[in-house]
Symmetry: C2
Subunit: 149 residues, 2 copies
DNA sequence: GGCACTATCAGGAATAATTCTTATTATGAA
DNA sequence: TTCATAATAAGAATTATTCCTGATAGTGCC
């Protein structure tokens, strides 16, 4: 329903305290936090910040190319401070999202223009699996399917 | 393209009129409609149906393997009556989603278990581009953003 | 410093998609 | 028919996100 904003389409505006802290907190983690996870982290340093400010600044930082907004499966948006091109793997049980270090498979896009008529500008590849933690737990308990960690 | 290990995990319950019409309407189209698009179609035949019933039955039909629930980018869920394995391409401008007829690239999943520790059960590959219709309409804005989800 | 101008803020309302609750109705077995 | 169960319509609730508003804070100019 929303129009897609072009990446790098916005000049970096002034770096406010809130924006700085959001950027720092996102840089600290290897996970791929949602807006409200970032909000909780940032609030420890800026207790008066609002969730709206977090959303707005994540959008701004993403627009000017300082962070990346992930478009993964699931209803909640996730953000990534790591700008190098990489894929992700998601645990179906605990929803954890981790990096997959691999060369982008640009060859996948070959010949698709002919096949579809679309001008192909990219692709999203996301692996689905069960993380080591959840594998261990399902062996141990033999049941349970949510909220690990 | 998640493997079909746990589809059919629910036995098909009785086929009600509402469920039947939802299935038929989804079977009619080549597009990948959202729940409310299906709701609008179905309502022409069953004007008293509720959106909640559409959601509930799409869930049930998907659980028992009669349709598939797509896990694409974007905040709105889409459904597909076509159960054969295939990929999709999404137009960034008009959000249209169309099929990509291609062999599943199962080789992508090779070696990921070693690299990540995850037990890989599938992958989701979605191409991003501009559809022929939107190419015609757009003003040569040469955007080039390789999005690797 | 004082002033205008603008960006950003906090807080909360609004929106959108989806799920849940409740009272009612349909189905089918005994 | 009687009864238990499954499914329904309607709408409330929830969740994630965006938008609005009035207040505040940074910037350039005098
Ligand atoms: Mn990452
Ligand atoms: Mn399809
Ligand atoms: Zn896990
Ligand atoms: Zn298009």
């Amino acid at each position: 329903m929303k129009k897609q904003t072009n990446s790098l389409s916005r000049q970096m505006p002034r770096m406010t305290r809130q924006r700085q802290v959001i950027l720092e907190e996102l840089g600290k983690v290897k996970s791929h936090p949602t807006a409200d996870e970032i909000y909780r982290k940032v609030r420890r340093r800026l207790p008066r910040i609002s969730l709206g400010t977090v959303y707005r600044n994540l959008e701004i930082l993403s627009d000017c190319g300082s962070i990346s907004k992930l478009d993964l499966a699931g209803r909640q948006r996730r953000f990534d401070g790591d700008l190098t091109p990489h894929y992700h793997v998601r645990c179906v049980q605990c929803e954890r999202v981790e990096d997959v270090r691999a060369e982008p498979h640009t060859e996948l896009e070959k010949s698709l223009t002919d096949a579809t008529g679309y001008r192909i500008i990219g692709h999203r590849l996301e692996f689905i699996g069960i993380c080591p933690r959840c594998q261990k737990r399902s062996h141990a308990t033999g049941r349970r399917a949510a909220a690990c960690g």
